[in-house]
Amino acid sequence: MGSPVLTLIAQRVALGILLLFAVSVLIFAGTQILPGDVAQSILGQDATPEAVANLRQELGLNDPAYARYFHWLGGVLTGDLGSTLTTRQEIAKTLMPRLWNTLFLAFWAAIVAVPLAIVLGLLAVRYRNGWVDKLISGLALASTSLPEFFIGYLLILSFAVTQQWLPAISTVYDGMPFFDKLKAIVLPATALVLVVLAHMMRMTRAAILNVMQSAYIETAELKGLSASAVIRKHALPNAVAPIINVVMLNLAFLIVGVVVVEVIFVYPGMGQYLVDHVVKRDVPVVQAVGLVFAAIYIGLNIVADVAAILANPRLRHPK
């Protein structure tokens, strides 16, 4: 481990933070392009001009855009996400439990999907061009074509309506026993797994195949190593970085899939919260939730890049 690795990682993390700031600007700018007056649209057409002016004052709409941005950013950095336009509740208070719910759901989906995808990907490589392999590429084709709600409602119809094994609506609340919570998220988690699984398998397969086509794999085979020893000793050390990359990319997919799945199963997570407030045009909530989603997404990408840096022998052992 030399300092070049640390420098590279520090650079990558710094770049990620910079990107996050740029994203915050973009999100803020994206919500300022509303034609017409926010205060007016909140209060409706019959509001008195005085009421509108008061609200404008209260919302700081008379300040220039950059001042409002820095005011907002300052709040975000100190944990104050502002309050909703419609109900005047503190956003951070509502958001935190919902963030945990979303992470809970995504975590269990990932726990199932990641190992499953890697094992199936390895199997596809081992029996390449056989029926396992063909099945996987067929499934991958289907999964990139199926909308989440198709999978979701099919699951509900099969396991909550026709067979009443599981609840159709995934209610979770504070203080709910752990296993009840788990049971509640079985269907949404399954839907999420199905959304990302095939894609992750296919990408894992491609990553390992790419390594397997290297000349050093032939060298290992010509030393008389068995197929499993070749994969274990020579392919895997080089496939770790691309596989981590694949996993991170797909976890990012999962984060997006969460939004729709939460709506389907009426799950009290961040995605549902976002969609509800987009419909209500409640801009502060949309900004806050959008920023949290973007932060998670960028964070996953940083992890992928850092893993790739750590796994690269050229960087770990400089000349």
């Binding site: 050093y216 290992a220 010509l222 030393k223 008389g224 050390p237 050229r314 052992h317």
Partner: protein
């Protein structure tokens, strides 16, 4: 230190490898067609005695690597051994299962690949990879195997033999890696090593060191070897016998001396005489066509200087050869002249005009009179254009020719490059390597240039094809009176075509003059090294060359 050959049970004491009537096939999947089987090796038999070296030689597609790998029962990339027998130490290894084959690989037979840089696992230390096969097959304990590896590193003249094993592949140069790979093959004390073009990817001055190291190691360990290469002069240095292959069939087989001095078959004769083009040097002319004066060129906005104060002249209708190894800056010179990389300093005069440094500022006539031919004809031709468009475009662009007039001229040009009219509607993918390079030449000629820059135009081609291209270039020079700036790493090629030569080393011209002047002693140290490194078709040349050297090669 001597490394002892381990004795193994044997039935016929003398014969190590006996391949009988080998047939190897592969299935080709071309897009849009049904998969079909092609025969790669057809009925080849060979016999190798213990401790002997057999050279397998042939052009690309001759099946020589496939034969080499068949001695390990291995088919690369879907290649199948469909007929014949491979007896190793008296047993037919093709009869046993995969398990038996694994016991042969890495223990009785080891393999040295063309590109060691790709053949080593980048994630593991060299030592772990070198002793891996020995440990797997139980040739001694770890400490013993590592001791043997260090002894082999010393024998192969690797620098710092005690600690080089702790390094990772990317920390070691290409020439050294090739020697480490040889040590890896020797470490499990095999009976046979398959060398698959082990020096082809190296620079000439490095090649000779690696070749000498391999030869000594073979002699001292008494291992037998199949030495595969396309270069007859190289194989003549290391092998006892040579087998010439063509299109998967054997052409000729005999003692090394007989093959290179008294070949029987026409194909072998052609291979032997491949570097014997006679070209009479032309004298100086009153005024040079192109004059490069004190040119310095750099990449990255002046940060990395690749050319330093280079001055050379090209005479009208003559050839200036620029010789150097990879990274010497010779291709950069071409880019500086064409304006693709505007020089940082110096000037370039062409046909009495000073050329603007940048390509974009040059007049159409300047562009027309200075054409270029590339090393890889594959990527120099647009795969989506037919020969008609490729050769016809310069005619349209420079002379405004259209329709019939243009096609007639294209046919004429095809005729000049010895290709028939039938090729006019073909796509590059439907041409052979040599034909593609000919089309590139015709495209350059179409502009009626005064100077053509030829950047390593024969290096990617098989020797006989390259010979044809050189002859064509010489003939065209006579007809069209065009000058060439011929960039090459291969002195043998340069001798065949040049009127004057510039030797370039680390971005500087170290020797420049007429061909005779440059090739006549006394030499400077680098030119001496370069000249003495070009393999000659002479048994015993290698030892002679190694002894007579004054300078260490840089890239090993």
């Amino acid at each position: 230190m001597m490394v002892k050959v381990r004795t193994k049970p044997r039935r016929e004491p003398d014969i190590l490898l006996d391949i009988r009537n080998l047939k190897v096939e592969a299935t080709v999947y071309s897009p849009g067609e049904k998969p079909r089987d092609v025969t790669i090796v057809d009925g080849v038999s060979l016999l190798l005695k213990r401790g002997k070296v057999l050279g397998l030689i042939g052009e690309s597609g001759a099946g020589k690597s496939t034969i080499g790998l068949s001695s390990m029962g291995y088919g690369r990339g879907g290649v199948r051994i469909t007929g014949g027998e491979v007896f190793l130490n008296g047993r037919d290894i093709l009869k046993g299962g995969v398990r038996d084959l694994r016991r042969v690989r890495g223990s009785e037979v080891c393999y040295v690949a063309q590109s060691a840089a790709a053949a080593f696992n980048p994630a593991l230390r060299l030592m772990d990879q070198v002793v891996e096969a020995a440990l797997l097959h139980g040739v001694g304990a770890k400490a013993e195997a590592e001791k043997r590896a260090v002894a082999l590193f010393t024998k192969l003249r690797l620098p710092d033999p005690k600690s080089i094993g702790c390094r990772y592949p990317h920390q070691v140069s290409g020439g050294q890696l090739q020697r480490v790979m040889t040590a890896m093959a020797l470490c499990s004390e095999p009976d046979l090593i398959v060398f698959d073009e082990p020096t082809t990817a190296l620079d000439v001055t490095t090649q000779i060191d690696v070749l000498a190291a391999i030869k000594d190691a073979i002699r001292d360990t008494g291992v037998a070897a199949l030495y595969i290469t396309h270069d007859l002069a190289v194989v003549a240095q290391v092998s006892d016998e040579i087998m010439v292959l063509r299109d998967g069939k054997m052409v000729e087989h005999g003692e090394t001396q007989q093959i290179i001095k008294a070949p029987r078959m026409d194909y072998t004769k052609a291979l032997v005489s491949v570097r014997s083009i006679e070209h009479e040097e032309k004298g100086p002319t009153p005024k040079p066509l192109l004059s490069v004066e004190h040119v310095t060129a750099a990449y990255g906005g002046g940060a990395v200087k690749v050319l330093q104060d280079v001055s050379v002249n090209v005479q009208p209708g003559q050839t200036l050869a620029v010789v150097g190894e990879s990274g010497s800056g010779k291709s950069t010179l071409a880019r500086a002249i064409t304006g693709l990389l505007p020089p940082v300093a110096g000037s370039i005069t062409f046909a009495d005009r000073t050329l603007t440094p940048k390509l974009a500022d040059r007049s159409k006539d300047d562009l027309r009179q200075l054409q270029m031919i590339y090393q890889m004809a594959d990527v120099a031709l647009n795969p989506r254009q037919t020969v008609r468009t490729i050769i016809g475009r310069p005619l349209e662009f420079y002379f405004g020719m259209r329709g019939k007039e243009r096609d007639a001229r294209v046919t004429e040009l095809l005729d000049e490059i010895e290709m028939s009219k039938g090729f006019i509607d073909r796509y590059p993918a439907e041409l052979s390597g040599g034909q593609k390079q000919r089309v590139c030449i015709a495209r350059a000629l179409a502009a009626k240039p005064k100077l053509i820059i030829c950047d390593e135009v024969t290096s990617a081609l098989d020797p006989l094809v390259a010979d044809g291209i050189l002859k064509l270039l010489l003939r065209l020079q006579k007809i069209e009176d065009v000058a060439y700036l011929f960039i090459s790493h291969d002195l043998a090629t340069v001798k065949a075509i040049a009127d004057s030569i510039a030797v370039i080393y680390r971005g500087e011209v170290v020797r420049y003059g007429s061909k005779t002047q440059v090739l006549t002693p006394p030499f400077d140290a680098y030119t001496d090294l370069l000249l003495s490194s070009v393999p000659e078709m002479e048994v015993g040349w290698l030892e002679h060359a190694i002894h007579g050297r004054r300078m260490e090669s840089a890239g090993n």
